[in-house]
């Protein structure tokens, strides 16, 4: 679902004979409406983050992002992503390999299961781990008697983050690997290549850009997740606060400029994500046109 669909704008499709396109005036009006809509809905919020962040000057900005609480939130956010993203990468590759290279019953059902976290509200994604591991949860008493705390601590934040980001890499790889089929891998196998050799020498070069984009998308969500993490974090300042939670706290304390300053860091992360996506599409288009020639 989210971000799973990547499209490539081909200049081919926009060249259309006159009788199956609209008159120039209609085209201009439609383009203008679309641009105004996007400017109002998407661009304006983006610009406002930076304007608000620098409203009180650069010193306030720098103070906000070098504040010890902000730095500890940044550290926690990075730590969570470093654990969650590799786990989901491993899952994504496994699931995509099984689904795209083999035939089995219930494949569509398995894909639906992978999509599940997309359909679940972030708040519920946090709630389920409270129900499992919280003080009143199913495993709560046992964990408590062994002195293990999962929720309102790092493990809970990691679990909730892993949950919400499960589908990203798998959903990016499945259509890509399905489209590529199994011919190249089968050829490699018939020439005597072993499992990992096939994957690294044949499959990986074909999917590396899609995989990179999946990882970047997964990472963006992992670092930006708010609802699920908010439920399981316990909001202990300097300890279990991630960057998005830190933004919320600053905002609720009416430290708007500081809050937007920290938010601008996450906007940069979004930019990196979009740049990698553009790079990936460019690479794929190059590959596609190279194949045609």
């Amino acid at each position: 679902m989210a971000g799973a669909i990547t499209t490539h704008l081909s200049s081919e499709a926009s060249k259309r004979p006159k009788h199956i396109t609209e008159p120039a005036l209609v085209r201009i009006v439609l383009i203008t409406i679309a641009l105004i809509f996007l400017a109002l809905v998407v661009l304006l919020p983006l610009v406002s983050v930076f304007v608000e962040a620098f409203k009180k000057g650069f010193d306030v900005y720098r103070a906000a992002i070098t504040d010890p609480d902000a730095l500890s939130a940044l550290r926690l956010t990075l730590l969570v992503a470093v654990i969650a993203v590799p786990l989901n990468t491993l899952f994504g590759i496994s699931a995509a390999w099984a689904i795209s290279k083999f035939r089995f019953r219930g494949k569509q059902f398995l894909i639906t299961l992978i999509d599940l976290p997309f359909a679940v509200s972030p708040v519920i994604s946090g709630l389920i781990y409270i129900l499992m591991f919280g003080a009143q949860g199913f495993f709560g008493p046992w964990l408590d008697s062994h002195g293990i705390q999962l929720v309102f601590a790092l493990p809970g934040i990691v679990l909730a983050t892993v949950f919400v980001t499960v589908p990203f890499i798998a959903r990016e790889l499945i259509p890509l690997m399905q489209a590529q089929g199994v011919a190249e891998e089968e050829a490699a196998a018939s020439l005597g290549a072993k499992g990992w050799q096939i994957f690294w020498r044949v499959t990986y070069p074909n999917i590396k850009w899609g995989l990179l984009y999946g990882i970047i998308l997964c990472n963006a969500r992992a670092m930006g997740e708010f609802g699920a993490v908010s439920v399981v974090s316990g909001h202990i300042r300097g300890q279990t606060n991630t960057l998005p939670l830190h933004i919320e706290i600053l905002y609720n304390e009416y430290q708007f400029s500081a809050s937007f300053a920290v938010a601008s860091l996450l906007v940069m992360l979004a930019f990196v994500t979009l740049i990698v996506k553009s790079l990936m599409e460019w690479q794929m288009n190059k590959r596609a046109s190279a194949q045609i020639v």
Binding site: M1, G3, I5, T7, S14, R16, E22, A34, L35, L38, V42, L44, P45, L46, E52, F91, A95, A98, F102, F104, T112, L113, D115, L116, P117, F118, A119, V120, S121, P122, V123, I124, L127, I128, Y129, L131, M132, V166, V182, E186, A189, K194, G195, L217, G224, E225, F226, G227, V231, P244, I247, F260, A263, L266, V267, L269, A270, L274, K277, S278
Partner: protein, 288 residues
Amino acid sequence: MKGSSRSKGRSRGGKARNVLPGFGLSMGFAIVYLSLIVLIPLASVFIKTTGLSFAEFWGTVTNPRVLASYRISFFTAFSAAAVNMVFGLLIAWVLVRYRFPGKKFIDSLVDLPFALPTAVAGIALTAIYAPNGWMGKLLQPLGLKVAYTPLGITIALIFIGIPFVVRTVQPVLQDLNKEIEEAAVMLGAYRMRTFWKVILPELMPALLTGFALAFARGIGEYGSVVFISGNMPMKTEIAPLLIMTKLEQFDYAGATAIALVMLVVSFLLLLFINFMQWRINRRVVEGG
């Protein structure tokens, strides 16, 4: 092929009649991982609810404040998805069919709501639409209050949902056969008529999928909404926030009951989406 897969040493994926290795390992890992991370934790919502008597469950989910939160969540998510269906189609149309400067940039901009953390979107939209914000200042004299009203929630959900519609419609529009449009022209149809009678029906499954994706996301959305909604019980309190409130009051049973209803709706939407997606794919396969 069948023969070679039976040959010794290469039949580890034997069940799948395939020469490639690793089926057992990759499938096994995927299933165990999904079970541990997704399925078992999700099942806890259902198990926890069985601890309630039916009267308790019914009492919780039909409480006026809970019903009001469902109404607000569904109504705003539905309105936002409807708006996105129209503008999403327009944006996809313009991106696929017309040429204009800055098209690549606009195309990337559509993805921004996917990439931007929801809390950031939430505070930014609130700053814009608050009475002293850029848009708030313009709309205030017109008597339009956006922030801290259902309209504000809807605007946040439009932001969150727009990429879903654009990215679902775009590939279908791109693959649409020129021939059928040509045929319509040949048969004397005007442009508008071609759009309504030929193009729109072809796009309908994708549009509905996009709508359902945006709707599903909107019902559950939390981060971008809590800041702009104002969170007044009965008026602008969304269902996910009510779950949060119940959790903070340690009313786990109440929170779980509300969550169960939302989960069931989400599952139904997901089934619908996957069914539509399957139909679109089948169409593409048959058509090409």
